[in-house]
Amino acid sequence: MEIRIEYYGILEQVCGTRAEKLELHDDGQATVREAVDCLVKRHAGLEPHREHIAYAVGETLIQETAPVVDGAVLALLPPVSGG
């Protein structure tokens, strides 16, 4: 299955792109953690940030253990600095 990854804040700079596609195995067991494991292999610079990244689908924050489904758009959110 295929999901779309969106990078925000400094992660766009770290990964060199605002968004990209990611292929995951299609057995219905894929989680955010697996997706991020793949992304860290693709972008080594993500690893130091991983501990502080939050994940969201739509307007909801989700945990690394959450499942991801085909066609999902997963947003990677680094520490925030609004205001």
Partner: protein, 145 residues
């Protein structure tokens, strides 16, 4: 709309929140300063994960109304490129009495800084730039009120 790319208009927020029961109006205005951590700043650029940022600002407004005896709380955050002195954020609180207005305003700005998925990119006068260190959305925080 709580996220805007055009200058924030205070008059509009004042009109939206007008209430005859209110005896206090607290306005918090965040502005772009020309320095940060001893570095001279030339301009800022704000970006957001808009679906969650809009929802989070709305939640903070509701929480402020629930936690404090206030009549209105409105939060508007600017996105895009801002120059020194521009308004980045406005929080308008109306209440019957001043103490609650100050408390709710303080609560709202602290929650925005810790919870809203918005990022500040600073450009310095030497042409270099960096994202401002922020607060992880994975970490719980406590706001003194």
């Amino acid at each position: 709309m709580r996220l805007v790319t055009e200058p924030i208009v205070l008059d509009g927020l004042l009109a939206e929140t007008a209430a005859p029961e209110a005896g206090a109006l607290a306005i918090f205005c965040g502005t772009v300063r020309n320095h940060n951590e001893d570095r001279p700043v030339r301009k800022l650029s704000y970006s957001a994960y808009e679906p969650l940022a809009e929802k989070t600002l709305a939640e903070i407004e509701c929480e402020a109304r629930d936690k404090f005896d206030i009549l209105e709380c409105r939060i508007v955050h600017r996105l895009g490129e801002l120059k020194i002195g521009d308004t980045s954020l406005l929080i308008v609180v109306r209440s019957a009495h001043r103490a609650e207005a100050y408390q709710a305003s303080r609560y709202a700005i602290e929650e925005v800084k810790h919870r809203a998925p918005i990022w500040k990119l600073e450009e310095y006068t030497d042409g270099t730039w960096s994202y401002v260190k922020g607060c992880s959305l994975n970490e719980r925080h406590h706001v003194e009120t």
